[in-house]
C-alpha cells in the first residue's frame, strides 16, 4: 500500500537519488472493537494522539452549543483529579492537551514526548478525560459562562455575524444550519443533565476513532489503543445525518453593522467527503479562489481593482454536503461593486471553466507541492484523522496525485455547472451603510 515518490534532483547533482515513501497508515481494531489508525513517524521523540467522536454540533438537536460545551468540560476534572490537577499533570511533563468541535465531530488530542515516564503520566490523564469526566456543577457553570462571554464577543465581529447568517441561509432546517458554539439563547438553557446525556450517547467506542502519529512502534501504539478504548463505554454508532436540501431560491441579504468594512460571503451547500465530483471541484476551486496569491478571484478583486485584502473561495467537505464559500471584506462604500465583481467572476468561471493554461498550472501546484501536505506530524495527524473519520481509502494520499492529474477542463466545467448553481447562491453582507 505504499507509493514511492521518486525525486530526481536536478540541482544537487552530488546528492544521491532520493526515494521518499509516504509512511503507510496502519489500521486495526482494539480488542473492544475500537478503530485505530497509526502512522509511525520516527526522528523526533514525540507523539500526537487524537480521539475523535462523531459528536459534532450536527448532533446538537435544539440545544445549540451542547457539543462544544461537552467537549470543553472534559478536562475540568476527570477520574480522581480536579481541574487544577489535570492541568498540572499535563504541564509537569510538558504535554499539551487540545480539543475542538466542528459540525461533524469533536475531538480531544494529546501531544507528548515519548519517554516512558512522561508519556505514561500524560496518557493516564488523557484516558480519564475521555472516559471518566467528572462533570461537576461549578465547573459546568464556569465553562458555560465563558462560552456565553465568547458568544457575546462574537457579536462585535461583522465576520462572525456574516458567517452565522450564511450557515442559516444555506442550511435552513438542517443540523448544519447553526454555528458550533451555538447562541446565547440556547447555551443559557443548557443543563448539566443535558451534557451528561450527550456525553453518554456520543463519547463511546463505537462512535470513535483513535489516531496515533509519532515516534512509537506498532506494539507501543497497540498498548496505548487498548488502554484508551478499555475505559470507554461501547455504546452505539451515531445515526447517519439527514441529507441536505438545497435552498429553493438564491438570496441576497444585507445586515447593517457599525463597522468600516462590509464582510461578504456567498455560496451554497455542495460537497461531501465521499462525493464523486470531489476532485474536479477541488482542482477547479484552486483555480477560482483557492490558490493563495494566484487565483482568479484574488486577481480580479485584489490585484486588478484593490477592492479587498483577502478574496478567496473554498469547499468545506463534510459528511453531508458541506458549504462552498466565497468571501471578501471591503470598505462599506464598495460593497455593491465588490459584490458585482465577485458574482461576475464566479459566473464566468462556471460558464466557461478554466483555461488549459490555468488547469496545467493548477496541476503543477497540486502535484509539485504534494509533499508539503504531510511534511510534519501535525499535518499528518489532520490527514489521517480525516481519512479515518470519513472512512476514505487508506491509500487516499498515495492516489491523490493520480486523481488530480486525471481531472480535465470539461470535468471541472460540468461539475461546477451541475453543483454550483448560480441561481441558488446565498449572498450575505454585514457592514456599515453603503454610500452608493
Amino acid at each position: 500500500m505504499r507509493i514511492k515518490l521518486w525525486i530526481l534532483s536536478a540541482l544537487f547533482i552530488t546528492a544521491s537519488t532520493q526515494v521518499w515513501a509516504i509512511a503507510p497508515i496502519q489500521h486495526w481494531q482494539s480488542s473492544q472493537g475500537g478503530r485505530v489508525y497509526f502512522v509511525a513517524s520516527p526522528g523526533l521523540p514525540m507523539v500526537d494522539i487524537r480521539m475523535q467522536f462523531n459528536a459534532g454540533s450536527a448532533r446538537d438537536d435544539k440545544s445549540h452549543g451542547i457539543a462544544v460545551l461537552t467537549n470543553r468540560l472534559l478536562e475540568t476534572g476527570a477520574g480522581l483529579w480536579n481541574a487544577d490537577q489535570v492541568a498540572e499533570r499535563f504541564d509537569q511533563v510538558g504535554a499539551q492537551y487540545s480539543n475542538s468541535v466542528n459540525q461533524d465531530y469533536a475531538y480531544l488530542q494529546l501531544r507528548s514526548l515519548t519517554q516512558d515516564k512522561l508519556l505514561s503520566q500524560a496518557l493516564a490523564t488523557f484516558e480519564v478525560i475521555a472516559a471518566k469526566p467528572q462533570f461537576e456543577e461549578s465547573n459546568f457553570q464556569r465553562i458555560k459562562s465563558q462560552l456565553l462571554m465568547e458568544l457575546k464577543q462574537q457579536q462585535e465581529r461583522p465576520g462572525n455575524i456574516a458567517k452565522k447568517e450564511f450557515y442559516q441561509a444555506l442550511y435552513g432546517q438542517h443540523p448544519y444550519a447553526h454555528l458550533s458554539a451555538g447562541s446565547i439563547e440556547t447555551v443559557s438553557k443548557l443543563t448539566l443533565v443535558d451534557i451528561k446525556k450527550f456525553y453518554q450517547e456520543y463519547y463511546v467506542s463505537n462512535n470513535a476513532i483513535l489516531v496515533i502519529v509519532g515516534d512509537l512502534t506498532k506494539t507501543q501504539a497497540h498498548k496505548i489503543a487498548e488502554k484508551l478504548y478499555a475505559k470507554l463505554s461501547i455504546g452505539q454508532k451515531a445515526k447517519a445525518l439527514v441529507s441536505v436540501q438545497l435552498p429553493k431560491n438564491g438570496q441576497k441579504k444585507h445586515i447593517n453593522f457599525p463597522s468600516s468594512q462590509t464582510h461578504i460571503l456567498a455560496g451554497l451547500p455542495v460537497l461531501s467527503r465521499t462525493d464523486k465530483d470531489y476532485f474536479p471541484l477541488y482542482v477547479g476551486n484552486y483555480i477560482l479562489g483557492g490558490g493563495g496569491l494566484v487565483s482568479i478571484l484574488f486577481n480580479e478583486i485584489r490585484e486588478k481593482r484593490g477592492l479587498a485584502y483577502s478574496a478567496y473561495s473554498y469547499f468545506s467537505p463534510l459528511a453531508e454536503k458541506g458549504p462552498f464559500t466565497i468571501g471578501l471584506q471591503t470598505q462599506n462604500k464598495q460593497r455593491k461593486v465588490a459584490t458585482e465583481v465577485l458574482q461576475k467572476t464566479v459566473q464566468d468561471f462556471i460558464a466557461t471553466g478554466p483555461s488549459e493554461t490555468e488547469l496545467i498550472a493548477a496541476k503543477k501546484n497540486l502535484t509539485g507541492g504534494f509533499v508539503l501536505r504531510f511534511d510534519n506530524n501535525r499535518k499528518l495527524m489532520n490527514y489521517v484523522s480525516m481519512i479515518a473519520f470519513y472512512q476514505l481509502p487508506l491509500d487516499y494520499l498515495e492516489t491523490f496525485q493520480g486523481k488530480v492529474a486525471q481531472v480535465s477542463k470539461k470535468d471541472i466545467q460540468s461539475a461546477f455547472q451541475a453543483r454550483v448553481q448560480k441561481n441558488l447562491l446565498q449572498i450575505i453582507s454585514v457592514g456599515g451603510v453603503s454610500e452608493q
Binding site: 509537569q92 512522561l118 441576497k252 468600516s260 485584502y309 471584506q329 498550472a361 509539485g368 511534511d375
Partner: protein, 449 residues
C-alpha cells in the same frame, strides 16, 4: 522526582536530535544560515531584511509593510504577479511578513526546487519595479488590510492606542501597518528611497531549513546572490525610550459588547537589558503566570477566584528596543475592570514578595524543554526563530542557547525581576468601555432576491 528525571531525559533527547546551524557570509555581506533537517523532502527558505516599522520616521509609518506588498509587483525579468505564479507552479507556498524590526519573505518548496526561490529573491532584492499605477491599487489593499486587522476590532484598536501611550519616543509606539493618513499619502519616491536604503545583501540574512546539504546551499547562494552589490547602511539613530515616571491610564470607548483590560509594564528586551539573566527570568515569570492551564492566572483568577473569563500574560524577549510585559483579561459578568486590575496587581505583588515554588519553576522548565522538541516538527518555525534573533541583533547563536539559559533561572531571580521591573510607575493601563453597537448604523436586515 519525576521532574529532575525529566530534565535529564530531555537534554539527552534534544542533543541527540538537534542539528547544528551552519553559517557562511558572502563577500557582499549576505549572511547565509543553513539548518539541515532530513525528516521530509521539503525545504523552507526565508530572507530577512533588517528593516521594519521601528526604523520609520514620522509621516511614513508603515512604509516597510507597504514595500513588502510592492515586492510582489515585478522586476525587469519578472512582471507583476509572475513571482507568485512561478512559486505556485512549482508547488510552493510563499508569503511575507513585516514586524517592528524586520521584513521577511519566505517560500516552502519540495527540496530540489530551492534554486527557484533563490533566483527570484535575488532578482527582487535589486531590480524591483515601483510603479505609481500599482502603488495606487496596493494602497487600497493595505487600507483594507488595516480596516480588517485594526479598525473593526475593538481590542486591536485598544492595543494600538495603548502602544502610542505607553511609549514616549521609542519607535515602537507606531503600529506596524502604519497610521491611516500616512498609508494614504505614500509616494513612489518614498518607497523607492526606502528600498534603496535597506534592501541590500549586507542588510539581509538568508535562512534555509530542510532536507538539504549545507555546502550545496552555500554554493547556490553564491551563484545567485554574490553579484548583488553592497550598500552603505547608515546606522539607526538610537531613539532610546525616555524613562517613564508614573502610571498612564486611558479608557477606550468603542462599539463593543465585552469589556477588556490591557496592562503593560515597560521592561527591557534581551537586546537592551542590563544583565542578560534578567530577560530569561522575565520569560520564566511569564511562564509562571501563563504557561499552560496550570499556571497561576488560569488557576487562581479563572478557576479559583472565578473573576476572569479569559486572562493572559506575555513577554517577548526578542525585541530590538524596550519591550512591554503585558497582562490582558476579560472579567466575568458582575465583576468590573477595576476588580480585574486589582486581582492582577495582587498576583504581581505576590511574585515580588514570595518565591515561586520549586514545582512551578520545574514545570516552566519542563515546558520549555518539551517545546524545544515539538518545535522541530515545523521547519518554518525553526527558520523563523533564527531569523528573528539574527535580525534584531542578538545573533542566531542566542536562540540556540535559549533553553540552557532558561534552565539556569532561579526562583530568587524571578522574584528579583518582578520587583525591579513590574513597577507601578512603568505601567500603562487601558480599559475598553463598550459602547452601543447601534451607533452609526441602522439596525436590522434588508433582503433582495
Amino acid at each position: 522526582m519525576i521532574l529532575r528525571f525529566f530534565i535529564v531525559l530531555i537534554f539527552y533527547s534534544f542533543n541527540a536530535n538537534a542539528t547544528d546551524v551552519q553559517e557562511r557570509i558572502l563577500t557582499n555581506g549576505l549572511k547565509v544560515l543553513v539548518k539541515e533537517q532530513h525528516r521530509s523532502p521539503v525545504v523552507v527558505s526565508q530572507i530577512w531584511y533588517k528593516v521594519g516599522s521601528s526604523y520609520e520616521p514620522a509621516g511614513i509609518t508603515g512604509i516597510s509593510h507597504m514595500l513588502e506588498h510592492m515586492m510582489f509587483k515585478g522586476t525587469d525579468n519578472h512582471p507583476a504577479g509572475q513571482f507568485s505564479k512561478i512559486i505556485a507552479e512549482n508547488g510552493g507556498r510563499e508569503n511575507a511578513f513585516t514586524g517592528r524590526d524586520y521584513t521577511a519573505y519566505f517560500q516552502t518548496l519540495e527540496k530540489s526546487r530551492l534554486a527557484i526561490s533563490f533566483e527570484l529573491e535575488a532578482d527582487r532584492m535589486q531590480n524591483l519595479h515601483l510603479l505609481a499605477s500599482e502603488l495606487k491599487k496596493e494602497l487600497q489593499v493595505v487600507m483594507e488590510e488595516r480596516r480588517m486587522r485594526t479598525e473593526d476590532k475593538p481590542r486591536a484598536k485598544l492595543q494600538e492606542y495603548l502602544m502610542a501611550m505607553a511609549y514616549t519616543n521609542s519607535a515602537y509606539r507606531n503600529p506596524v501597518i502604519g497610521w491611516p493618513e500616512d498609508i494614504e499619502n505614500y509616494q513612489v519616491d518614498d518607497l523607492q528611497a526606502w528600498y534603496k536604503k535597506w534592501y541590500a545583501p549586507n542588510n539581509a540574512t538568508l535562512i534555509v531549513v530542510g532536507n538539504v546539504q549545507a555546502e550545496e546551499v552555500f554554493k547556490l547562494a553564491q551563484q545567485y546572490f554574490s553579484k548583488i552589490p553592497q550598500v552603505a547602511i547608515k546606522p539607526l539613530k538610537p531613539q532610546k525610550e525616555m524613562q517613564q515616571v508614573g502610571v498612564r491610564r486611558m479608557t477606550i470607548k468603542l462599539p463593543a459588547k465585552v469589556p477588556y483590560i490591557l496592562m503593560a509594564y515597560k521592561v527591557p528586551s534581551l537586546n537592551v537589558i542590563e544583565h542578560t539573566w534578567e530577560a530569561y527570568a522575565l520569560d520564566v515569570l511569564a511562564g509562571v503566570l501563563d504557561g499552560g492551564d496550570s499556571a497561576r492566572l488560569a488557576t487562581r483568577l479563572q478557576r479559583g477566584q472565578k473573576i476572569a473569563t479569559s486572562v493572559g500574560a506575555g513577554y517577548d524577549l526578542g525585541g530590538r528596543l524596550e519591550e512591554l510585559f503585558l497582562f490582558e483579561a476579560t472579567p466575568v459578568a458582575g465583576k468590573s475592570l477595576l476588580d480585574m486590575e486589582l486581582a492582577l496587581k495582587k498576583e504581581i505583588r505576590i511574585l515580588q514578595q514570595e518565591l515561586i515554588s520549586d514545582k512551578e519553576l520545574e514545570r516552566v522548565k519542563a515546558q520549555v524543554l518539551a517545546s524545544s522538541v515539538y518545535e522541530q516538527d515545523s521547519l518554518f518555525y525553526q527558520a523563523m526563530k533564527l531569523g528573528m534573533y539574527e535580525t534584531v541583533g542578538l545573533g542566531w547563536q542566542t536562540s540556540e542557547n535559549y533553553m540552557q539559559k532558561i534552565t539556569q533561572v532561579t526562583a530568587e531571580q524571578v522574584r528579583l525581576v518582578a520587583k525591579k521591573y513590574l513597577i507601578e510607575s512603568h505601567l500603562s493601563i487601558a480599559y475598553l468601555d463598550p459602547q452601543s453597537m447601534l451607533a452609526n448604523s441602522k439596525s436590522g436586515a434588508s433582503y433582495a432576491h
